[in-house]
Amino acid sequence: MRALVVDDSRTMRRIVGSTLQDLGFETEEAENGAAALALLEDGLQVDLACIDWNMPVMDGLELVTRVRATKEWRAITLMMVTTESEQEKIVRALAAGAHEYLLKPFAPDALRDKLDLLGMLPAQGGAA
C-alpha cells in the first residue's frame, strides 16, 4: 500500500510518514495541495492520502474536493490530518469527500486506529 502525505510542515510530513512506514506503507510527500495534485496527475498511484488543512498555494479542503471530483482517483482513501478541530470544519471535510479526520496532535496509535477503521492496515504492518 502506498500513501501520500500532504503537509507544508516538513516535520509533520516526517512524523506522519514514519508512522505510516512503521505500519507497512510506502510513502510519498507533497508540501501543499497543488504539489499533491501534480504528483497524481503525473500518474502517482496511491491508496491513501493524509492531508493537512491549512497549506499555502492550495489547502487540504480544496485538494479533497478536486480528488473526489476526478473519477480516476475515486479509490483513494482521503484522511484529513489537521489541527482544525471545530465540529463545523469536520463536517465540511466529510461533506467534501474526506473519509476520515484525525486531529493533531495525535499519538501514533491514533493513526493506526483510524486506518484500522478504514480497513487499511496492511496485513504485514508492524501492528503495535
Binding site: 479542503l61 478541530s85 461533506a95 486531529l103 477503521l117
Partner: protein, 320 residues
C-alpha cells in the same frame, strides 16, 4: 528496563488484596507501563518508588497505585469487529432468540465509558430500544464515564469522524457525548466478584478484563456472567481472549467477523431455542423468524472507506 522481583511481588500482592485482580508473573510490563509514569512524576525510578511504598506509604498513595493498575486503557470501537457486527449480525441473532421488545447489554469493566457509548453508537439506528448497564470497580472512572467528556487525544482513538460529529458536541477543548446517548447508559459500581447487576442481559461485553484474574476467578466470573444472560444471549470477550481451557460451558459462535461465546447450558426458563449455530466455516446462517437475506458481510469494518463521501447535512462552502 526490567523491574525488580520484589517490586512486582509487592504491587501484585497489593492489587490482588484490594481488587481481586491477579497479576501473574509475565505481567511485569503492565506494572512498568502503569506505574512508571507515576514514579517519574515523583522523580523516582520505579523500583525506588515501590521500595518507598513498601517502607510505609500513606493510604492515598496506595490507592493511586491500585487505581493505576486497575484502570484499563480504552478506545472507541476497540477491536472493531464486535461493533462492526453488532447491528448487522449480532442484533438479528438476539432478536431471533427472543429479544423482540428491547435489547439489554451489560458492559462489564467499562472503564471511562468508551465501550458502552460505542455500543449505543453502533446501534444508534437499531429498530428497537437498546439499554446499556455499564459497570466498573473504580468510582473515579465511573464518574468520568457518566460525565461523558473526553479530550481531543481520547476522541482520536478509534472514533470515526462521522460518529464524532453525530454523537458528540464540543465543550471548550473537549468533546462530550450528547445527552440523548448519555441518558441511555445506567452506570453503576460493581465488582465482578459479586452477583451481576439485575438482568437478564442479551449481551455481555467482558473484554480485556479476565486477563487480570487467576483461573478459578476467571471461571467464577464466567459462571456469573452466564447466569446473567438470557437464553440465546452471548458474551463478547477481547480479541485475544477465549473461553478455551478456562471454562467448558461455552461454545464459540461467529457472527459477521465477530467471535461470540454462548453458554452451553439448557435455558432454565422455557424459551425458544437459540437459532445460531456453533461455528461454522463459512459464516452464519439466517436465524428462524427473520428474512433470510441480510446484507452479507462485505467487510468486517464498520466504517470502511465508502465509495462515496460520507453523507452529512452541511454543504461545503468553499475553503477557509
Amino acid at each position: 528496563m526490567s523491574i525488580a522481583p520484589e517490586t512486582f511481588a509487592f504491587v501484585a500482592d497489593l492489587v490482588g488484596r484490594r481488587s481481586a485482580i491477579r497479576l501473574e508473573p509475565g505481567k511485569e510490563y503492565l506494572v512498568e507501563s502503569r506505574l512508571g509514569p507515576i514514579a517519574r512524576e515523583r522523580q523516582l525510578g520505579l523500583d525506588e518508588y515501590v521500595r518507598r511504598l513498601r517502607a510505609g506509604a500513606p493510604e492515598d498513595e496506595l490507592a493511586v497505585v491500585v487505581e493505576a493498575m486497575t484502570t484499563n486503557e480504552t478506545s472507541w470501537f476497540r477491536d472493531v469487529a464486535p461493533f462492526a457486527a453488532l447491528s448487522s449480525h449480532i442484533l438479528p441473532l438476539l432478536r431471533a432468540a427472543g429479544a423482540t421488545d428491547r435489547v439489554r447489554v451489560w458492559s462489564a469493566a467499562c472503564s471511562t465509558g468508551q465501550e458502552p457509548y460505542s455500543i449505543l453508537m453502533a446501534l444508534a439506528d437499531a429498530p428497537l430500544p437498546v439499554e446499556v448497564v455499564a459497570t466498573d470497580l473504580n468510582e473515579q472512572v465511573l464518574a468520568r464515564a457518566r460525565e461523558g467528556q473526553y479530550s481531543q487525544l481520547e476522541v482520536n482513538r478509534g472514533l470515526p469522524a462521522a460518529v464524532l460529529v453525530r454523537h458528540f458536541e464540543r465543550v471548550g477543548a473537549h468533546w462530550r457525548v450528547r445527552a440523548d446517548l448519555r441518558n441511555r447508559v445506567q452506570f453503576r459500581r460493581h465488582n465482578l466478584m459479586d452477583a451481576p447487576p439485575p438482568g437478564p442481559f442479551d449481551l455481555v461485553f467482558l473484554r480485556n478484563v479476565l486477563i487480570y484474574f487467576d483461573l478459578p476467578t476467571k471461571r467464577a466470573v464466567l459462571d456469573r456472567v452466564a447466569r446473567a444472560l438470557r437464553p440465546g444471549g452471548f458474551v463478547v470477550l477481547g480479541a485475544a481472549e477465549t473461553t478455551l481451557g478456562v471454562h467448558d460451558g461455552f461454545e464459540r459462535v461467529e457472527a459477521g467477523g465477530a467471535v461470540l461465546h454462548r453458554p452451553l447450558r439448557e435455558p432454565r426458563v422455557a424459551a425458544a431455542a437459540p437459532t445460531a449455530v456453533p461455528v461454522p466455516a463459512g459464516g452464519v446462517p439466517a436465524p428462524r423468524g427473520l428474512p433470510p437475506a441480510w446484507p452479507p458481510p462485505t467487510s468486517t469494518r464498520p466504517f470502511a472507506a465508502p465509495t462515496r463521501p460520507v453523507p452529512v447535512q452541511t454543504q461545503p462552502r468553499g475553503v477557509s
